[in-house]
Symmetry: C2
Subunit: 138 residues, 2 copies
């Protein structure tokens, strides 16, 4: 058992466990170019530095917040160029926030519809369910 100092480079599996993501996801992010090619041990195993780890955490957080990979790419290119301004990031975030707000509205409408069509139906043993009818008929 090796003692792990924090700040030490980690292998793929260890990093995946630490950040609670799938092992293959990390390689996937490398393939699509949003994670850098990490250092390798002499035998070819990947080694993720502290800053690699931070970048992955950033990516995972953004994904968790629901940013698409393309939106993430934009965000990352701002970060990478180090030439972003607050305004640019704000604009991207607001645009995304907007889509989230819209999605909520859509889902609420859907919720209302589902509640409405299932209200008639107490869930008894009878066939001729009003839910099916609501969906099936004109």
């Amino acid at each position: 058992m090796k003692k792990t100092h924090s700040g030490e480079p980690l292998k793929r599996g260890t990093l995946a466990k630490k950040l609670k993501c799938n092992l293959e996801t990390i390689r996937y992010y490398e393939n699509i170019g949003i994670m850098p090619q990490p250092m390798r041990t002499p035998s070819g195993h990947r080694l993720y530095s502290q800053s690699d780890q931070e970048r992955l955490r950033f990516i995972l957080r953004c994904r968790e917040l629901g940013f698409s990979i393309e939106e993430l790419r934009k965000l990352l290119s701002m970060v990478d160029s180090d030439g972003y301004t607050c305004g640019e990031v704000y604009a991207l975030t607001q645009k995304y926030l907007h889509s989230v707000t819209n999605k909520i509205a859509d889902l609420k409408k859907l919720e209302r519809t589902l509640k409405a069509i299932s209200k008639e139906c107490a869930g008894g043993d009878t066939p001729d369910c009003p839910i099916i009818e609501a969906l099936y008929l004109d």
Copy 2:
């Protein structure tokens, strides 16, 4: 120009236009077995009967409501067996309604987070955006 009586079987393209879905989607639903194999003209063109049309509309509506294909399969198998009870349909609907309600809650949380991290940021010309920092740092 041929006069179209309502109730007449339609070809794929016409049905797609009528129900406002993509042409290929109909064939896809046939391939995965949720639409029946329709009649064919002597030369092999698909012809959709009135009941085919109703079934497709049912499918499209359920999809629009966000039911997954698997959930839809269950719903359809109930309809097809004609042996469903109100209770079964109700259970499926409630389960799905639950997932919708959860999704709304998740998105609202996300909305709050996005608003919170973008509040600090007025959108000026300065680098060092608090949004990036909120996502990047520990």
